[in-house]
Symmetry: C2
Subunit: 173 residues, 2 copies
């Protein structure tokens, strides 16, 4: 069947992920969204204030998010939640096959495409160090969901296996 009418403009990855985070929380502040991004294991989502606050403001202006002001002690804060349109947009984003299928960006994959620029031993050593670093230093996403940690480990180990298999193929020439 055809995609039926998608939301006029579809969401970017950052937008979709932001909606999913807010949906998971039910309702939350931009600060909480930032925290999720900052605690994610990827280096690509900085969760910088200058990215998140304007993004959420845009989504509200489009009617995808709704907000409530709240007073906590002496401080005011703004809670956001999905509107009905927001729910639809999130659903579309979650179910969009083409974008979910994309293989994304992986810095080691990129570097391996230029394997011939390394010396043979150099490449080996580099990959070994990088995979060690990954296993030791890339923290699982901080979350109360224990499955996330498990799936993170699965992801890392498959990534390592892929890199090592590629290394073998490159050596055999």
């Amino acid at each position: 069947m055809p995609q039926s009418k998608q939301c006029a403009e579809s969401l970017s990855e950052l937008e979709g992920t932001t909606l999913a985070i807010i949906k998971e929380a039910g309702e939350c502040t931009p600060y909480v969204v930032r925290d999720v991004f900052r605690n994610s294991p990827t280096e690509n989502w900085s969760g910088s204030a200058g990215a998140i606050y304007p993004l959420i403001a845009r989504l509200e202006k489009k009617g995808i998010l709704l907000s409530t002001e709240e007073q906590v002690g002496k401080r005011k804060r703004t809670l956001y939640r999905l509107s009905a349109d927001g729910e639809k947009a999130l659903k579309n984003w979650l179910l969009d096959v083409k974008s979910g299928a994309g293989i994304g960006l992986d810095p080691m994959r990129t570097r391996l495409a230029f394997a011939d620029m390394y010396g043979a031993d150099e490449l080996h050593e580099y990959v070994r160090q990088a995979m060690d670093y990954m296993m030791a230093e890339i923290p699982p996403p901080k979350s109360d969901n224990p499955l996330l940690e498990k799936t993170h480990q699965i992801w890392l180990s498959h990534r390592k296996a892929a890199v090592e298999e590629i290394l073998l193929v490159l050596e055999r020439g």
Copy 2:
């Protein structure tokens, strides 16, 4: 040993990759660089003119690239090559362990972190469709190096395996 003195500012992924592409070619036009990006299997590097031309201009201004004007028929074009500084910067980028270790961005990984927002059958069906799409529709990088196609296939199959293993874990709860 300490990193000794890195190049003052290190290269972004886009910059490093651009240098590697130019280095591989020996010397080439921005158009050729764009073509490599557009023929790469990832959706994240558009290779849009507005990204590449200014980027290369910046790198030249920094002294990392050198240029030569050339007349071909009635057309003028500019060829770029690495300077000595450029070679050093590329080497640093290729050998930087921390950035090579980063797990990057993967749209399916992102979506799986929100697995609880899908119905059980829905998630299954979605993942199946996406992996089918990936295998059928994501083209290997166009290149004269046959190894790239092979390593591309290896990458895809490991990615598929990771996603399917995660799916299993999520089902078992």
